[in-house]
């Protein structure tokens, strides 16, 4: 076998093909990591010279019999797939993820930084009105919830962020959100002249509900 080896092959191929157990491991790893089903020819091209991926596949296929996943032929290629009887477990995997809209993410950011905050205050900070859909979406995602009513005329409801929000963003508490100064230090803000008077001033009229604003004094 070694006689026929082209002179340019790797050193490894000058010796002999790896043992079948090793070849089986290789096929397993390649099938697992490949983004598409892999043909026997492709397997052979990627494995050390002299390997026999077809035989390794037979062993591997047998090894996965009755397991939670199985080695399956797709056209003339091979892939690892979930056992059909376990398909019901995959329902969560079918979720389609989409980015939040800019309006939603800005509203969420304001709730997180200024909670408890009323809709009117959100609108004041964003400078545009907040559509019902945006708030509904954040409520539905369970990232914000209703807080206490504000003891001001009209007794408006306030919004606060939820534990689910903290979990999603990997925060231990909303107080750990970085302040302006830290955002700037992390390069998330352009280096602009320091703010003379930030939003705190506008919101401070209700001392009891000042919330987190004290965190952002630069």
């Amino acid at each position: 076998m070694a006689d026929e080896t082209p002179p340019m092959e790797q050193d490894r191929s000058l010796f002999e093909a790896p043992p079948m157990g090793e070849q089986e491991r290789m096929v397993e790893a390649i099938l697992f990591a490949s983004a598409e089903p892999v043909t026997v020819a492709e397997l052979a091209a990627r494995m050390p010279h002299g390997s026999d991926p077809a035989e390794a596949l037979v062993h591997l296929r047998k090894r996965y019999e009755g397991r939670g996943v199985r080695v399956q032929k797709v056209g003339d290629a091979w892939a690892i797939r979930t056992a059909p009887d376990l398909g019901f477990l995959m329902q969560k995997e079918t979720m389609e993820t989409r980015k939040l809209s800019r309006a939603a993410i800005e509203t969420l950011a304001i709730v997180a930084y200024h909670q408890p905050v009323t809709r009117a205050e959100i609108e004041e900070i964003r400078g545009v009105s907040v559509s019902r859909g945006t708030v509904d979406q954040l409520l539905e995602l369970e990232w914000i919830r209703f807080g206490r009513r504000r003891m001001t005329p009209g007794r408006p409801v306030t919004f606060v962020v939820t534990q689910g929000f903290l979990d999603h963003f990997g925060l231990e508490s909303a107080r750990d959100l970085p302040g302006l100064k830290e955002l700037r230090a992390a390069g998330l803000l352009d280096n602009r002249p320091p703010p003379g008077a930030g939003l705190e001033g506008e919101d401070d009229d209700e001392a009891g509900d000042a919330g987190q604003s004290e965190l952002f004094e630069d």
Binding site: S34, T94, E106
Partner: protein, 263 residues
């Protein structure tokens, strides 16, 4: 003889090059601590046994050489030099019991600790980067399963998105001219712009109050500001000779009209 001369020259040239190389390398150091660590390694001893006094002398000699070659050193290198000179004097002089503050030994021990710690972090950083890494040495599932049975949409956002959104709102605010922060204020410029546009239609005497823009006449604060700004604007236009103004008596309505030969 001539050979000797030649050799001497060659030697001094290479010496000079070596000295310059040393200095030019200052740019390659990440600050005085990095430079000190490099110097400490030339002592070829365990970092825990490094001679801080010797290190201070090496550093001072280095800075001296840089000065000699008229190379500019960043301020923090010179600050460190001053501090090390101070440390050296503390280490050499017998301790003065009347003096406050840490002893030279304490300061030296802390510098040694800093150097050892920095070296340790560099060592583990190298070990960390030498580990098998995801996407290079080991791999995730190439075909994540997606059995399209129940399709639910989940919205996602990262902490970066959130912080960038907040930063965006906040910077927008920082940049708003401060007069705009109070929406109950009309500026002279605004009023002037408005009056210039309207004055062409004022052939007859009309009351100044009728020039208050819509939406400004109800809220008292806004009305006050708009009146003041509009009045100031008419004074300016009168001064420019574009309008005439009159007032029947004190506190009577002010009236204006376009000057017939104006403009």
């Amino acid at each position: 003889m001539t050979d000797d001369d030649f050799q001497q020259d060659a030697l001094s040239v290479s010496e000079r090059l070596a000295a310059e190389a040393l200095i030019v390398d200052v740019d390659g150091y990440e600050g005085p601590l990095d430079l000190l660590l490099t110097l400490a390694r030339t002592q070829k001893v365990d970092l825990r046994k490094v001679s801080v006094l010797g290190l201070a002398e090496q550093y001072l000699a280095f800075v001296d050489k840089a000065r000699h070659l008229r190379l500019e050193l960043a301020a923090d290198y010179l600050v460190m030099a001053a501090w090390l000179a101070f440390l050296k004097s503390r280490l050499l002089l017998p301790p003065d019991p009347s003096e406050d503050g840490p002893s030279g030994e304490e300061l030296a021990a802390h510098l040694a600790f800093q150097l050892e710690r920095l070296q340790a972090m560099r060592d583990v950083a190298a070990r960390l980067m030498g580990r098998d890494q995801l996407g290079r040495d080991f791999f995730v599932r190439g075909i994540p399963e997606d059995v399209a049975r129940t399709r639910r949409v989940s919205y996602t956002a990262t902490l970066m998105d959130l912080m960038q959104a907040y930063a965006r709102i906040r910077t927008r605010d920082e940049f708003r001219p401060f007069v705009m922060d109070r929406d109950a204020v009309m500026t002279l410029e605004q009023a002037l712009d408005r009056m210039r546009g309207l004055i062409g239609y004022a052939g007859d005497w009309t009351e100044l109050a009728s020039y208050i823009p819509e939406g400004w006449e109800i809220d008292p604060a806004r009305r006050r500001s708009a009146t003041a700004a509009t009045f100031a604007a008419t004074l300016q236009l009168a001064k420019e000779g574009q309008i005439d103004m009159r007032q029947g008596e004190t506190f009577a309505p002010i009236q204006i009209r376009k000057r017939p030969h104006g403009r």
